[in-house]
């Protein structure tokens, strides 16, 4: 990065944060602080909902996912449009009618105080964990590739987001998200165009190569439960995951209950229901096009080049350098076969095309085998090294192939994405702690100024917790999957609490409370003992909680009847 890149990066990040603080100065009412001033139109609400979900991980890690596995991750979002329709039609009108600050207040109205606290506690636990990941994830990648100190990157970006979220509350979050999204989309569109322009083949040939290497398999109807992403896991698991995330996670609920009317909030949700799948598709396609690009350009053996250089320096036998030469030879051979494949295709020679494609696939297998061996050597030499380098693919491409100025814009886009989702999470964690715990349990009647101050302190507290987690975190999963896994373990049960509240009138507070605790325990046990797609845990947690609730209600109901009969 040069001076121009730093000017773009710092100018956009500090400028947006300062604007957010300035526009939201002097807020005394709790309603204003937690819900904004209710002037946001549906576009702002829609952008805010999208921005809260799309963290830096979405823009850094998803292209790497596309590079490694192709388009199949897009199926993860198949349940989302349906979930948003249910939320807009059922959840949202009830939240607005009750005029709640948090979704968990509704559980208190419908069931009892302990169920409200359980819902809020599960949210704080799951979102508190994820909040650490959203701040750690981009920091580790950016600090590695840019050569910055990891702890300083985490602390500086963390303090910036804490400052404007604490100062401006919900309105600052929405305001800054709008401009941060503009930076992100500007950067991502520019990157996509440059990737396409720099492809050494026509677009049609690029799709042929990607399809030939099975990177364009976007939809699979496989019933294999071990397969992570299929139409079924996406539709069912994704439906439950999205319904829980958008309908019951306070970081999202707080975004859309801020609308001036039901119409604005609903249209904001529908905006996301229509655009999320194509947005994720294009980000994954960007990764697939990077894969095609690197078939004609020598890719690094290991995309985390800083870790690679370190490993080579400490490799006593020179094994890694040998593997690097082997990898270069395999890649050169692969490129030759791909060119033969495309030439044969253009000439209409089907037999030669099939043969060259088979040779290219075999060469890809060889180069992948060398990569895998290199990772094994690295892990043997240093057991602490992270062998998953998919998250570094896009950043490596940006630094190696994009012009200065645009590099700064893309890095700014990643930081903007980190800040926008982080700010919404902190805002929600602070609100839930204030409204569902502090005001509910400890300080029933105090002035608005007191609650605003308390909310600021709790937001600061959660910001520091997330910073602490980020400073000591250590992840082995691809980052975008790590966030979804944490969510999936908790979301099913939380969703069940709300579904029972809305639709199963006969289940009471005590039955659903114990059912939720039992179901959450079951999900933990299954998660550590089974090897199935994590998306299924959304469905399992939800179904188990509902079934346990029905059984417990039947038992409690009959024992209550017996007691009443005995008493009479």
């Amino acid at each position: 990065m040069n001076l121009l890149d730093f000017v773009v990066l710092l100018g956009s990040m500090l400028g947006i944060a300062a604007y957010g603080v300035w526009r939201t100065r002097a807020q005394r009412s709790l309603s204003h602080y937690l819900k904004g001033d209710k002037t946001e139109g549906w576009v702002t609400i829609g952008i805010s909902v999208a921005a809260t979900q799309a963290s830096a991980i979405t823009f850094i890690s998803t292209p790497g996912q596309g590079y490694e596995s192709g388009l199949d991750f897009v199926q993860n979002y198949f349940g989302m449009p349906l979930a948003l329709i249910v939320i807009a039609a059922v959840f949202l009108p009830i939240y607005r009618r009750l005029n709640v600050y948090t979704a968990y207040e509704y559980l208190g109205h419908r069931f009892d105080a302990k169920t409200r606290l359980l819902g809020a506690a599960l949210f704080l636990l799951s979102r508190g964990l994820a909040a650490g990941i959203t701040i750690y994830a981009p920091a580790i990648i950016l600090s590695t590739v840019l050569g910055w100190r990891l702890d300083l990157t985490i602390i500086l970006s963390g303090l910036l987001v804490i400052a404007y979220t604490v100062a401006g509350g919900s309105r600052a979050v929405s305001l800054t998200q709008k401009y941060q999204m503009a930076v992100i989309f500007g950067g991502m569109v520019a990157a996509f165009v440059i990737v396409l322009v720099k492809l050494p083949t026509s677009l049609a040939d690029a799709f042929t190569v990607a399809g030939g290497f099975n990177k364009l398999e976007a939809v699979s109807f496989s019933l294999d439960v071990h397969r992570r992403y299929t139409f079924w896991t996406g539709l069912l698991g994704g439906l439950f995951l999205s319904m829980s995330y958008f309908g019951t996670d306070q970081s999202q609920v707080q975004r859309y209950i801020t609308g001036p009317s039901l119409r604005e909030s609903r249209l904001g949700l529908m905006f996301n229901a229509v655009l999320k799948i194509p947005m994720q598709f294009f980000i994954l396609l960007l990764g697939v096009m990077l894969f095609v690009f690197y078939q004609f350009e020598q890719p690094p053996v290991f995309f985390n080049q800083s870790a690679w250089r370190e490993a080579v320096r400490h490799d006593p036998d020179g094994k890694l350098q040998g593997l690097q030469q082997e990898f270069a030879a395999a890649c050169a051979q692969k490129e030759q076969y791909i060119r033969q494949w495309l030439d044969a295709r253009h000439a209409g020679n089907r037999e030669a095309e099939t043969a060259a494609r088979a040779q290219a696939l075999a060469a890809l297998d060889r180069s992948n085998a060398v990569r895998a061996e290199a990772k094994t050597v690295m892990e043997t030499d240093d057991p602490g090294v992270k062998s998953n380098d998919a998250d570094y693919v896009f950043v490596t491409y940006i630094l190696d192939h994009l012009p200065h100025g645009l590099i700064g814009l893309l890095i700014a886009a990643f930081f903007a994405a980190a800040l926008q989702s982080k700010s919404a999470e902190l805002n929600a964690l602070g609100s839930t702690t204030t409204v569902d715990f502090y005001r509910h349990l400890f300080k029933h009647k105090a002035s608005d100024a007191h609650y605003v101050a308390a909310s600021k302190w709790f937001t600061l507290f959660w910001g520091l917790v997330a910073l602490g987690f980020a400073l000591f975190a250590n992840l082995v999963e691809n980052l975008i999957q790590a966030v979804n896994i944490v969510g999936s373990v908790f979301y099913g049960v939380v969703l069940a609490l709300f579904l029972v509240a809305f639709f199963v009138k006969r289940i009471g507070g005590t039955a659903i409370f114990w059912a939720a605790l039992t179901a959450q325990t079951l999900v933990f046990v299954l998660y550590f003992s089974l090897n199935i797609s994590y998306l299924w845990y959304n469905f399992i947690g939800c179904a188990a909680c509902v079934v346990f609730g029905l059984i417990l209600q039947a038992v409690l109901g009959s024992s209550r009847k017996t007691n009443v009969m005995r008493a009479s």
């Binding site: 388009l71 509704y106 119409r263 009138k505």
Partner: protein, 56 residues
Amino acid sequence: MTPSENEPMPVDAPSDGEVEMTGVPGLRTWRGVYFFVFGCFILWVMLLLVLTVSFS
């Protein structure tokens, strides 16, 4: 614990939301908006399916 927390709330989907105008040209009811969104979802899946089949 406030008394209201012990009393079940009415849980039927409210009708006031349906009465509110959507303000979307050509889609006057919320049911129409939801069908439109569902139609877009089906369209995306079909397009992705065509892409999958075309390049497999």
